[in-house]
Amino acid sequence: MFDTLGDLLVYRLLGIDPASHLGAALHFFVMDTTKIFFMLVIIIYVMGLFRALLSPERVRAYVRGKPEWAARSTAVGLGAVTPFCSCSSVPLFIGFVEAGIPLGVTFSFLIASPMINEVAVVILIGILGWEVTLMYVAAGLTVAYVGGLVMERFRPERWVEPYVWQIHMGELKMPEPDTSLAGRHRYAMGEVREILRRLWKWVLLGIGVGALFHGYVPEEWVVEHLGGTDNWLAVPGAVLLGIPLYSNATGVIPVAEAMLGKGVAIGTTLAFMMSIAALSLPEMIILRKVIRWPGLALYAGVLAVAFILVGYGFNLLA
């Protein structure tokens, strides 16, 4: 359906040659824009209707007071189903610390949260299929679980800003939500507006980059340099390139689509996706409010190593 729309608009209406670079890029752009935004609206609306979107307050309540392994599994699992804005990272961090949740568990949550969320997962399935989705999610969950464990070994408490330990959180008493159908609809519409307002720029940017890659990067070059396991620099290169770059988990999907389409190796693509979604300069600057630079450098280092291992692992398996 979206493919046909792309054909109609780009080739028929605008009369651009399908064999040209511009034609390929524009077709990719039109198809992915309509498809991804269509899916986004539907997924968010349905989840809003069931009130399936968790708030950080509820996540904190679920994780606190559990034994460590259970807390970590819960944190990773909930991190993976909550499309949080990175602007909530700081209150979230403080809230977890205040609840007595171990720092390693908090890190596990912080790693999982930007990398995986249910909205991105549904779109991943729609664009890249089950297999890639499964690999991405399994690798992401593992990195979050192990990454938090490794962070804990380094006693990250010493890098937490002192004021964090002084904050006392009150009990949140919210009024009961309106569970009538009209109330649910209103809430769901609000979520669609809210999440789209946050995502649309990143998604468009991702589709734009994907479209350029799809239209203009020659396939032979990609296959030769980024295709197999011969080029050992491809994976660390992808991870390093992804660190300063930022997009959210949904925005990286069209980029990955274009990369895989041109023959970039699967591990290299997965490592690049994770590095862009989970590690970024803006996120670091936000987290700097609660963690000092040595702690952040360690965090970035642990994640970079983990993503490189993920990349090599999948490239060797493939």
């Binding site: 602007c87 006392h168 959180m169 009150g170 809210e194």
Partner: protein
């Protein structure tokens, strides 16, 4: 006179929430004392982690995201 506090550390959504509340109160003819709370310690003192949040007379009525106009008007009628 209702005491309304907008919790949020100066993000764009917090400003939008401030405006919605201000306009809705005016439209409903409700008298309110509106205050911005930007200090993280105070925000979290209300138990709120996802900003913006809205507090009316000491009670949190909303957290996470800009509330829609209709909901806000409901608070003042």
């Amino acid at each position: 006179m209702k005491e309304v506090k907008i919790l949020g550390s100066g993000c764009a959504n917090c400003k939008a929430t401030y405006k919605v509340v201000e306009e809705a109160a005016k439209a409903k003819g409700a008298e309110i004392a509106l205050e911005k709370v930007e200090d993280l310690g105070r925000i979290m003192g209300y138990g709120v982690m996802s900003t913006p949040g809205v507090v009316i007379d000491g009670q949190v009525v909303h957290a996470g995201g800009v509330p829609d106009r209709k909901t806000v008007e409901g608070w003042f009628s």
